[in-house]
């Protein structure tokens, strides 16, 4: 049994079959990549996992419990954090405040009335936030408006916001899109380090094969809403069906 078990999930948008009988099992402590051409349904699958969409049929079990019918914040509190394909951050707040919020969410749960304590006096929380900013090399940007950051920095910030929650399962939707090569490599190093030092499971969607083959232990190929194959990176590279459906277009 994996930490995440997706069984027989279908999702239609009008006549479009975005997900068709999707089965996926992610083992605890591994990095599982989901690849596939544009419009394959990768983001839709993540939307189902985090409670943004409800599938038409099928089941999604996380850590032995069903996530279907739960609200996004409840699913996050179960231990699933997600980095979105287009960065979702608090653009009106400072970089530091952006990472403080998930720190509070982890400590205090979905709602807590702390109206008289001062954020500045929360010692441990501030230390945690500063630490994660240092980890993603953004400590010098802590007082900037998050909205003014570059796309790559917004992504790194969003990743920091998810990592600081220490989720059991981290979902990454194209985490290096829009990043410069150097930043991409930093991100790979960061994710590798996180994986080695913490008990974390990751599901990563990525078009950049360099990132995929640097990190993934298992790869699922999705095409037109259906998983084609699931295997180790070595086997995927040589798989004829995969080449035909996907890798043929990309440089490996």
């Amino acid at each position: 049994m994996g930490i995440l078990e997706v069984k027989g999930v279908n999702k239609n948008f009008g006549g479009l079959k975005a997900l068709q009988d999707v089965n996926l099992s992610v083992q605890e402590g591994t990095v599982h990549a989901i690849i596939g051409p544009n419009g394959a349904g990768k983001s839709t699958l993540l939307n189902v996992l985090v409670g943004k969409l409800r599938p038409d049929t099928g089941s999604v079990m996380f850590d032995g419990k069903s996530v279907l019918g739960r609200k996004p914040h409840e699913i996050n509190q179960m231990g699933i954090s997600r980095v979105f394909q287009t960065p979702e951050i608090f653009t009106d707040l400072s970089v530091l405040e952006n990472v403080l919020i998930p720190c509070f969410a982890r400590r205090d749960g979905a709602f807590r009335m702390h109206a008289f304590e001062s954020v500045a006096h929360e010692g441990t929380i501030n230390e945690e936030a500063e630490q994660i900013l240092a980890d993603v090399n953004m400590a010098d940007k802590r007082n900037l408006h998050a909205g003014s950051l570059s796309r790559g920095d917004k992504r790194r910030l969003e990743m920091a916001m998810c990592l600081v929650q220490q989720p059991k399962l981290l979902l990454l939707d194209e985490p290096t899109a829009g990043m410069a090569r150097a930043d991409t490599n930093n991100t790979i190093d960061l994710l590798k380090e996180i994986k080695e030092t913490r008990p974390i499971t990751m599901a990563i969607i990525e078009h950049d094969m360099h990132v995929v083959f640097s990190l993934a232990e298992r790869i699922t190929v999705l095409a037109q809403g259906t998983p084609l194959v699931e295997d180790t990176p070595e086997n995927i590279k040589g798989h004829p069906k995969v080449r035909e459906a996907y890798l043929g277009e990309a440089q490996v």
Binding site: I89, S94, H145
Partner: protein, 397 residues
């Protein structure tokens, strides 16, 4: 100091000084001079400054922090006033129970309206609040007459029971015997300054309200409210439930409105349905935006500014205008007076509308942004004198 940062302490002290010294600051012109009409240091007007300041401070906790724009907060102001007058009718003219009940009633009322309205966001939320407030206004006007005394308005009659009234208690609103209307007048040469009990009672409550709002702004709760405004999606995918955060902010701002309504009644024990009308709801929106929504001091400035202008502009009539333009040739004078008269007296709302448009277009951050721009310009000039000092880019407060 007081558990708030250095900068916030400074802001609080400045506001406290302004509020406590207002009877002097606002009366700069000698009592009998021609300029005396621009004086604003009389109790009645100063009370309105601070009471509407409280209203706007509370409104800012909802609108400024969470971005939920309510067009129905006058309903809570009105509910607070009715609750206070009922306390006067049933217990005594002491203002403490009246003010306490007005807060409680408005808070309970806002639980109900907030719970329903917050099922929607954006324009739909605004319209729901507006609809609820208009409903309350109509109910107060007609169906609820036994509670509100309908068109006449709720007031205290000698036949009212006033169960807790003591033997020698004053027959006007008072604080344990200290009459709200009591005042000391200090005459210094041609100047006259009024220090009234009612004003200081309201001013101190305003300062407490302001202090609480500073604490809320700087708290984890306040941070979450700002996060609701910035990106509600991200908030829920970060494990936070925005609904109770927004609802709590709604209730707090409702309670502030109730306090303001209670104080209006404490200054003048009368409550009418018109206090709940949509124009009153709109006014607090204007105050908050004009001063600077989401800033600490903006709503206080906005409230003072609008109430001051209202008072000054609505007092000016054609006679005053004629005396101002008397030196000009006749035809020109008549023309100027004709134009200007449209903007004063009854027409002062035209001036308010124009000012509001100018601020929204040129100073979207309100008066506070205006002040910040001036401050930055001054600093830049000083910065040229002493090189090496550069302005750090910080998120606006």
């Amino acid at each position: 100091m007081l558990g708030i940062g250095k900068r916030d302490t400074t802001i609080l002290l400045v506001v406290a000084f302004m509020a406590l010294a207002a009877p002097i600051i606002l009366n700069p012109f000698p009592a009998n001079s021609a300029m005396a009409q621009f004086n604003a240091g009389y109790p009645d007007l100063m009370q309105r400054f601070v009471i509407f300041g409280i209203f706007a401070i509370g409104f800012n906790i909802l609108f400024g922090l969470t971005g939920y724009l309510s067009f129905g907060h006058a309903a809570f102001l009105g509910a607070g006033s009715y609750a206070a007058v009922w306390m006067f009718k049933l217990l005594s003219f002491n203002v403490i129970p009246a003010v306490l009940l007005s807060i409680v009633v408005a808070a309970l009322f806002s639980v109900l309206i907030g719970f329903i309205s917050l099922r929607r966001s954006g324009i739909y939320f605004s319209i729901l609040t507006l609809a609820f407030a208009q409903m309350s206004y109509n109910l107060a006007y007609s169906v609820l007459t036994p509670l509100t005394n309908g068109e006449t308005g709720l007031q205290v009659y000698t036949s009212d029971p006033q169960y807790l009234r003591g033997e020698g208690d004053p027959i006007v609103t008072h604080l344990f015997g200290l009459e709200m209307r009591a005042k000391e007048t200090l005459e210094l040469g041609p100047w006259a300054f009024d220090f009234s009990v009612g004003y200081y009672f309201c001013a101190i409550l305003m300062l407490i309200s302001f202090y609480i709002s500073i604490r809320i702004f700087r708290s984890p709760f306040g941070l979450m409210l700002r996060a609701v405004k910035s990106n509600n999606h991200r908030l829920s995918y970060t494990g936070l439930n925005s609904r109770p955060y927004a609802l709590t902010a709604f209730i707090i701002s409702g309670a502030y409105a109730g306090l303001a309504g209670g104080l209006l009644a404490a200054m003048d024990p009368l409550a009418g349905a018109e206090r709940m009308q949509w124009t009153a709801s709109g006014e607090v929106v204007l105050m908050t935006i004009l001063g600077g929504a989401g800033t600490l001091i903006g709503p206080v400035l906005g409230a003072g500014f609008i109430k001051y202008c209202e008072n000054i502009f609505s007092k000016i009539n054609e006679n005053v205008l004629h005396s101002w333009f008397a030196a000009l040739p006749d035809g020109l004078e008549t023309g100027l007076v004709w134009v200007a008269s449209k903007f004063v007296g009854e027409g002062w709302h035209l001036t308010l509308g124009l000012m509001f448009m100018l601020v929204v277009i040129f100073l979207p951050g309100g008066l506070v942004e205006g002040g910040q721009r001036i401050g930055r310009a001054l600093r830049r000039r000083r910065g040229q004198d002493e090189p090496g000092r550069s302005a750090a880019k910080e998120p606006a407060e």
